[in-house]
C-alpha cells in the first residue's frame, strides 16, 4: 500500500504530515546533530513504522544551517587570472549606509587559485588554456588539501571548454566534489555565479553525507527534497546541487499557503508565517508563490529559483523595550528558545510578544505546550509591568508588532503593484493565527483563511509541491525572429533530468524567457507558448508590471529556461483531517484590541465543515490558537479552512 509522508525539519520541531484516509500531523523534537534521527522518529510517530513509508517529501535545513553556522567544507575557488578577489569585492556596495558596525560577510573561502586563460563573451578563447597550466593549477589546488572545489571562470557560461578541462582533471586527481559553474548555473554576471558555485561546493560534502544517511535509514522509500523555488527534486540532483535547498523550509510553507488560498476559492493571497524570532511573508498570485531568480543567505547571494520571501525580525519571542527617543520597540532581539518568553517559566524576565498574548488571556494557561512546557501568566505580567506606563502594556507590544508586520506585508504586495485589500491573508506558524484578524483589518484584506493544521503547513506543502527541474542558458540576443534552435536542447535536458529523478511520471514542460529592453539591466520572466515570440509578450508584461511599454524599442532575450514538472504527491489540499477529540466548549475573560470581553473558547476539532462562529472567540489546537475579534465572523469551508471576515457588527 502507498504510504506518503511530508517531513519538514525546523529549528525546534520536526513536523510530519502523513497522507491516509484522514491526514495526520505530528511534531517531534528536531535532532540537530543528525536531522535524520528526528525524521525517523517523526515517521514512526506519524505512520506507525518508518519502514512502511513508501514515499517521503523532505524539507531540510542541513545546507542552510551549514552556511549560517559556517560548518562547511574546506573549499577552493578556481577562477580566471585578474579576478582573484571576486568574492571579496562582490558588487562593491556596503550593506549599511551609515552604521559602521555592519560589515560585509566574510567569503566562505579565502583559498583562490587563478588560471592563466580567458574566454571571450562569445565563448571563444582569447587566452588558450594549456595542458601545463591545467597541471600547475591542479597541483596548486591539491596542495591546499580541499574537501570541495568550485570552478567558475570568466565567461565560463558562454564556452565551457576550459572549465571542463579543469574540473575533469581536478575530480580525477583529487576525488572530492567539484562544482563547475557552466553545469550549475550557465548564466552571466561573474560574481553572482561564483558566489552560487562556492556556496554549493562548501555544503556539498555535508549534504552528501546527510542524504546518504537518510537513504540508508529509509531504503525502501523514494525520497524527494524541497528546493528553494517551491518544487521537489531527487536525491542525486540535490547531492550534486545542494545550493538549491538553501530556502527549502520556507518554500514548502508558501507552496501550501498557495494551495490553501486556491482551496478557499481565492487566487491572490499573502502568506504570513510568524515564528519565534522572525516573520516570513510572501505574495501569492493565482495560487502560486512569487518566485525570484536570486536570493541571499547571511548576506551571500545565490542565483537559483527561490520563493520571494521577505523576512522581518519580529516573532513570538521578540522583546519589547523603550528606546532612548521614548518609543516602544519590539525586536529585533529575541528571547529565543532559552530562556524564552517570561511565561515559559524558564527564567526569562523580558516582556515578549508571547507574554503579551499570555497576559491578555489569548493563550490558555492550563494547556500543555510541546516539550512539557506549561504557560505561567505570572512572570508575563511581571515582565510587562517592568516597562514604563507609557509603553501601553501588553496591548502596546501587540500594536507595535502589528505595525512592523503590516509594513512588511504592504511592501511585498506593493512591490508587485498589488493592493493588499484585494488579498486574503493565510496565517501559519505558531503565532500567525493569533495576529491575523487584527492585521487583516489593518491592511483591509478581504478575509483570513486559517488552514486546518497551521502549525505543520510546511510539512503539508512538501506533499503539494510538484517535482521540478529548470534547464537554462544565457542567450543574449534579439528576442525576435526564429529562436527555434534555443529551446530543443533545453527541453531535452529538462526532460532527461526530471525523468531520471521521477521515473515513469508524466512530465510537462514550460518555456520561460527572461527578457528586457536593450540597455535595461533588469529582466522580466515570461512564460511562453510553443512557437511564441517573446518580444510581443514582453511589451504587454512590461506594461502590466511597470505601467508602460515602449513598443518601438528592441527586446533582448537574456536567459532561456525550460521548466519541467511532474505532479506532486497530492494535487489538492487534503480534507477530513484527524484533529483528535474535542473537549467541551468553555469561555475566558480576555482583552482583544483594547476591549475586555468574555470569549468563547473551542477546540479546532469541535468545528466541522459548514459550522459558523462569531467572535469574540479563541479556537485552540495543539500548537496554535486562532483569535477572533468581537466583530469577526468565521465559517469552516469544505477543506476544513477557517475563513474569517470582519463585519460592521460590534
Amino acid at each position: 500500500m502507498e504510504l506518503v509522508a511530508g517531513v519538514d525539519v525546523g529549528g525546534t520541531f520536526t513536523d510530519v504530515v502523513v497522507l491516509a484516509e484522514h491526514p495526520r500531523a505530528v511534531k517531534v523534537p528536531t535532532t540537530p546533530s543528525d536531522q535524520g534521527e528526528g525524521v525517523v522518529a517523526g515517521l514512526d510517530a506519524g505512520a506507525g513504522a518508518h519502514g512502511d513509508v513508501t514515499a517521503m517529501a523532505h524539507g531540510t535545513t542541513t545546507a542552510t544551517n551549514a552556511v549560517l553556522e559556517r560548518d562547511i567544507a574546506r573549499t577552493v575557488l578556481v577562477t580566471t587570472a585578474g579576478f582573484a578577489d571576486l568574492l571579496v569585492i562582490g558588487r562593491q556596495d556596503r550593506p549599511s549606509l551609515y552604521d559602521l558596525r555592519v560589515t560585509r560577510p566574510t567569503p566562505l573561502t579565502q583559498s583562490v587559485v587563478t588560471v592563466d586563460e580567458r574566454m571571450g563573451p562569445q565563448g571563444r578563447p582569447l587566452v588558450a588554456l594549456t595542458g601545463e597550466e591545467v597541471e600547475r593549477v591542479v597541483d596548486a589546488v591539491a596542495a591546499l588539501e580541499p574537501e570541495s572545489v568550485a570552478v567558475s571562470l570568466l565567461f565560463g557560461y558562454a564556452g565551457d571548454a576550459h572549465e571542463r578541462a579543469l574540473a575533469d582533471e581536478l575530480a580525477r586527481r583529487l576525488g572530492v566534489p567539484v562544482t563547475r559553474s557552466s553545469a550549475l548555473l550557465p548564466e552571466f554576471r561573474e560574481y553572482e555565479r561564483a558566489s552560487t558555485c562556492v556556496l554549493n561546493a562548501a555544503v556539498a560534502p555535508v549534504m552528501r553525507r546527510y542524504l546518504e544517511g537518510l537513504d540508508r535509514r529509509l531504503p525502501d522509500a523514494s525520497i524527494t527534497v524541497m528546493t528553494s523555488g517551491g518544487g521537489t527534486a531527487g536525491l542525486d540532483f540535490v547531492a550534486d546541487a545542494p545550493v538549491h535547498t538553501l530556502l527549502s523550509g520556507p518554500a514548502a510553507g508558501v507552496v501550501a499557503a498557495g494551495a490553501v488560498a486556491r482551496s478557499g476559492g481565492f487566487a491572490d493571497a499573502l502568506a504570513f508565517d510568524m515564528g519565534g524570532t522572525s516573520t516570513d511573508v510572501c505574495l501569492i498570485r493565482d495560487g502560486v508563490p512569487e518566485v525570484a531568480t536570486e536570493a541571499e543567505i547571511g548576506g551571500l547571494p545565490f542565483r537559483t529559483p527561490a520563493v520571494g520571501i521577505h523576512t522581518v525580525g519580529a516573532g513570538g519571542g521578540s522583546v519589547g523595550w523603550i528606546d532612548r527617543g521614548g518609543a516602544l520597540r519590539v525586536g529585533p532581539r529575541s528571547a529565543g528558545a532559552r530562556p524564552g518568553p517570561a511565561c515559559y517559566g524558564l527564567g526569562g524576565t523580558e516582556p515578549t510578544v508571547t507574554d503579551a498574548h499570555c497576559a491578555l488571556g489569548h493563550l490558555d494557561p492550563a494547556r500543555q505546550l510541546g516539550g512539557g512546557l506549561v504557560l505561567d501568566p505570572g512572570p508575563a505580567h511581571r515582565a510587562i509591568a517592568g516597562l514604563p506606563p507609557e509603553a501601553g502594556g501588553a496591548e502596546g507590544i501587540l500594536t507595535v508588532a502589528r505595525a512592523t508586520m503590516a509594513r512588511a506585508l504592504r511592501r511585498v504586495s506593493m512591490e508587485r503593484g498589488v493592493d493588499p485589500s484585494t488579498l486574503v491573508l493565510i496565517p501559519y506558524g505558531g503565532a500567525g493565527p493569533l495576529h491575523a484578524s487584527a492585521l487583516a483589518a489593518e491592511l483591509g484584506c478581504a478575509a483570513v483563511v486559517v488552514p486546518p493544521a497551521p502549525g505543520v503547513l510546511s510539512a503539508l506543502g512538501l506533499l503539494l509541491a510538484p517535482s521540478r527541474y529548470e534547464a537554462l542558458r544565457t542567450v543574449m540576443r534579439p528576442a525576435e525572429g526564429d529562436l527555434g534552435d534555443v529551446w530543443p536542447a533545453l527541453e531535452r535536458e529538462a526532460r532527461d533530468e526530471l525523468g531520471r529523478q521521477r521515473p515513469g511520471a508524466a512530465l510537462s514542460t514550460q518555456r520561460v524567457a527572461d527578457c528586457r529592453y536593450a540597455g535595461q539591466s533588469h529582466e522580466l520572466r515570461l512564460e511562453l507558448d510553443e512557437g511564441e515570440e517573446p518580444a510581443s509578450r514582453f511589451h504587454a508584461a512590461h506594461e502590466r508590471a511597470y505601467g508602460y511599454a515602449m513598443r518601438g524599442e528592441p527586446v533582448v532575450l537574456v536567459t532561456a529556461r525550460v521548466v519541467a514538472e511532474a505532479p506532486p504527491a497530492c494535487e489538492d489540499l487534503p480534507a477530513g483531517w484527524d484533529q483528535g477529540s474535542a473537549g467541551p466548549e468553555r469561555s475566558r475573560r480576555v482583552t482583544i484590541e483594547g476591549v475586555e470581553v468574555e470569549a468563547r473558547v473551542l477546540d479546532r476539532a469541535a468545528l466541522g465543515v459548514g459550522d459558523r462562529l462569531a467572535g469574540p472567540a479563541l479556537v485552540e489546537q495543539s500548537d496554535t490558537t486562532t483569535l477572533l475579534a468581537p466583530s469577526d465572523e468565521a465559517t469552516v469551508d469544505e477543506r476544513g479552512n477557517l475563513v474569517i471576515r470582519r463585519t460592521n457588527r460590534r
Partner: protein, 514 residues
C-alpha cells in the same frame, strides 16, 4: 503621543516613503535608477520639514529638503494640492544637473493641505558638452546641461506635456527621460494617495501632530547621542587636488546637545566642475553626523535639528553662479566627509574611522562610432575603525552604487576587462588595518574611444588615525597596445585607440592605531 502611537505612526510614515521608492524603481526605465537605485523619495509636512525618507544615496540626504524649500519659495500659495513642480538647478534647490527632483503638494478631499511628497532620480543624460552630463572640461554650469529652475509640471488638469517635451528634447536619450519622468510622477501619485489615507485615519490635525512627533522623536535620539560628545571646538583641514590644492576647512563646535560645523574658512570656488553647492555640503555634513550619532534614528528633519552648517557663498563648499558643479556632488562631497571626520575624531577618538579612499574614481569611456557611453565609479579601501579593519574594495562615504559585472560590460560595450582585483599593499597599516583599494584594467576593442577621468587622492593619501598609517594614493595609467605605460593625470580627457588599456588603481583606506 505615547510610546506605542509613536512607533506605529513612524512605521506608517516610513511606509509612505518606502512605497514611493518602490514605485519609482519599479516604473523607472534606466538602469541607473532601477539597478543602482540612484534615487530617493521623501515626505514633508506643510512647512516643508522632512518627516520620512526612503534612503538609498547619502548625497540626497540633506538636499531633498532644499528642493522642497525652493519649490515653496518659487510658487508660494500657487503650490496647492495637486500641483507638481520639477527642478534640477543646483542654484535653486538642486545638487548637480542630472539629479531631477519632482515635488508634489498633497491635500485631503476638502482641499486642506497635508504636506508634500518629493522624489529625486539621477537622469543618465540631461545634455551638456559630454554624454552623461559631467564634462571634465566645464568652466561654467552652462556647459553641464539643461538647467531647470522650479517649473510647474502638473496641475489639477494633469501633466504639462510641453515641459516633458522640453526636458526630453535636451537629452541624448529622450525616450529614457520620458520613462523615468513618468516613474517619478507615479511615485508622487502613490505617496499622495497614502498620505491622504493616513489623514483619514488620524484626521488632518492628528496627522500634523504625528509628523511633528516623529521629528521630535528623532531629535531626542540624536541629542541623546550628541550629549555624549565632549564639548569643545575641533578644527580640521584637508585638500582637494585641483591646481596647487584647494583647502576645505571646518571648525566644529560641540556645546551640550548642539553641534555647529562652520566651513566658511574654505577656499574660493574654482573654474572646474568640483564646486559643491550648499545643499551638497549640507548632505555631506548630515552623512557624518548621522553615522556618528544615531544611524538607526528614523530619517527626518529631527535628525539634524541639533546640527548647524555654516558656509560662505562663493567658496568651494557653497558655490555661486556660474560655477560648474557636476563633480562637486561626487568628489568634493567625499572630501567634506573626510574633513568632518577629521574634526570629530578629536572629540570622539574611540568612534571615528580613519579616512576612506575619499574619491569615487569616476571613469567614463565612450565614442560616437560605435556609439556607446560607459560610466562607472570604482570602489576602494575603507578607513579602519577603532574596532575593526576597514573593508576592501568597497564604496564609502557619499555613494554606494554597484559595479558593472565584466560579463555584462563586455556584452554591452567594445571593451574588455583584464583585471578587477584588490590592490595589495595599498591599505594603511595599524592595529586595525585599512581596506585595500582596487585595480581595474579595461581595454578598448574598437577603433578609438575617449577616456575621461575624475579622480582624487592621487597626490595626498587617505589619512590614518591614532598612529595608524596612511592609505596608498591612487594612480591612473594608460598601457599602449605595444606595452609601454604612460601615467595619466587625476582629471582629464584623452583619446585612446584599439588595444590601449586604462588602469585605475584606487586608494587604500587609512589604518587605525599604532
Amino acid at each position: 503621543m505615547d510610546a506605542v502611537e509613536l512607533e506605529v505612526v513612524r512605521h506608517a510614515l516610513a511606509g509612505v516613503a518606502d512605497e514611493m521608492g518602490v514605485a519609482l524603481r519599479r516604473a523607472a526605465y534606466s538602469p541607473n535608477i532601477k539597478e543602482r537605485a540612484d534615487c530617493s523619495a521623501a515626505v514633508f509636512d506643510v512647512d516643508g520639514q522632512m518627516v520620512a525618507q526612503a534612503e538609498h544615496i547619502p548625497v540626497h540626504l540633506g538636499s531633498m529638503p532644499a528642493s522642497v524649500a525652493a519649490a515653496i519659495e518659487a510658487f508660494g500659495a500657487d503650490l496647492a494640492p495637486g500641483v507638481q513642480v520639477a527642478l534640477n538647478d543646483p542654484y535653486q534647490g538642486g545638487t548637480h544637473l542630472p539629479d531631477l527632483t519632482i515635488v508634489a503638494a498633497v491635500g485631503d478631499e476638502e482641499g486642506r493641505p497635508l504636506g508634500y511628497v518629493a522624489n529625486r532620480a539621477h537622469h543618465a543624460d540631461v545634455g551638456g558638452a559630454a554624454p552623461g552630463s559631467m564634462p571634465a572640461s566645464a568652466t561654467d554650469i552652462a556647459m553641464e546641461g539643461l538647467r531647470v529652475p522650479p517649473v510647474l509640471v502638473a496641475d489639477a488638469d494633469g501633466f504639462r506635456e510641453d515641459m516633458l517635451d522640453l526636458i526630453a528634447a535636451n537629452s541624448r536619450t529622450p525616450s529614457e527621460r520620458r520613462g523615468d519622468l513618468r516613474a517619478q510622477f507615479a511615485a508622487n501619485h502613490v505617496g499622495a494617495m497614502r498620505l491622504r489615507e493616513l489623514s483619514r485615519r488620524y484626521g488632518p490635525s492628528g496627522l500634523a501632530g504625528a509628523m511633528a512627533a516623529v521629528c521630535d522623536y528623532s531629535d531626542r535620539r540624536v541629542r541623546a547621542a550628541v550629549r555624549e560628545i565632549p564639548d569643545g571646538t575641533y578644527s580640521f583641514t584637508d585638500v582637494l587636488e585641483v591646481a596647487d590644492g584647494v583647502e576645505i576647512s571646518v571648525d566644529l563646535t560641540v556645546e551640550g546637545d548642539e553641534v555647529t560645523a562652520d566651513l566658511s574658512r574654505s577656499a574660493p570656488q574654482v573654474a572646474a566642475p568640483l564646486n559643491a553647492v550648499h545643499a551638497v555640503t549640507v548632505s555631506s555634513a548630515y552623512f557624518v553626523f548621522r553615522m556618528l550619532t544615531d544611524p538607526d534614528a528614523p530619517p527626518n528633519a529631527g535628525c539634524y535639528r541639533a546640527l548647524t552648517v555654516r558656509t560662505k557663498p562663493g567658496t568651494i563648499v557653497d558655490a555661486a553662479l556660474p560655477a560648474p558643479v557636476a563633480a562637486g556632488n561626487v568628489e568634493t562631497s567625499q572630501r567634506i566627509v573626510d574633513v568632518l571626520l577629521g574634526a570629530f575624531a578629536q572629540a570622539l577618538p574611540d568612534a571615528v574611522p580613519a579616512a576612506s579612499q575619499g574619491t569615487m574614481n569616476n571613469l567614463l569611456l565612450g565614442s560616437s562610432t560605435p556609439s556607446f557611453s560607459y560610466y562607472e565609479t570604482i570602489a576602494g579601501g575603507e578607513g579602519a575603525t577603532p574596532h575593526r579593519d576597514g573593508m576592501s574594495g568597497v564604496h564609502t562615504g557619499m555613494t554606494n552604487t554597484k559595479n558593472t559585472p565584466a560579463e555584462a560590460l563586455e556584452l554591452a560595450y567594445p571593451l574588455r576587462v583584464w583585471r578587477a582585483e584588490l590592490r595589495r599593499g595599498s591599505a594603511g597599516a595599524g592595529r586595525h588595518q585599512g581596506g585595500e583599494g582596487v585595480v581595474r584594467e579595461v581595454e578598448v576593442t574598437c577603433e578609438a574611444a575617449t577616456l575621461t577621468l575624475q579622480t582624487e587622492r592621487r597626490a595626498r593619501s587617505p589619512w590614518g588615525l591614532a598612529g595608524g598609517g596612511d592609505g596608498g594614493t591612487g594612480r591612473n595609467t594608460v598601457i599602449r597596445a605595444d606595452g609601454t605605460e604612460e601615467p595619466l593625470a587625476a582629471k582629464g580627457s584623452w583619446p585612446l585607440v584599439r588595444g590601449d588599456r586604462v588602469r585605475v588603481e584606487t586608494p587604500g583606506g587609512g589604518g587605525w592605531g599604532g
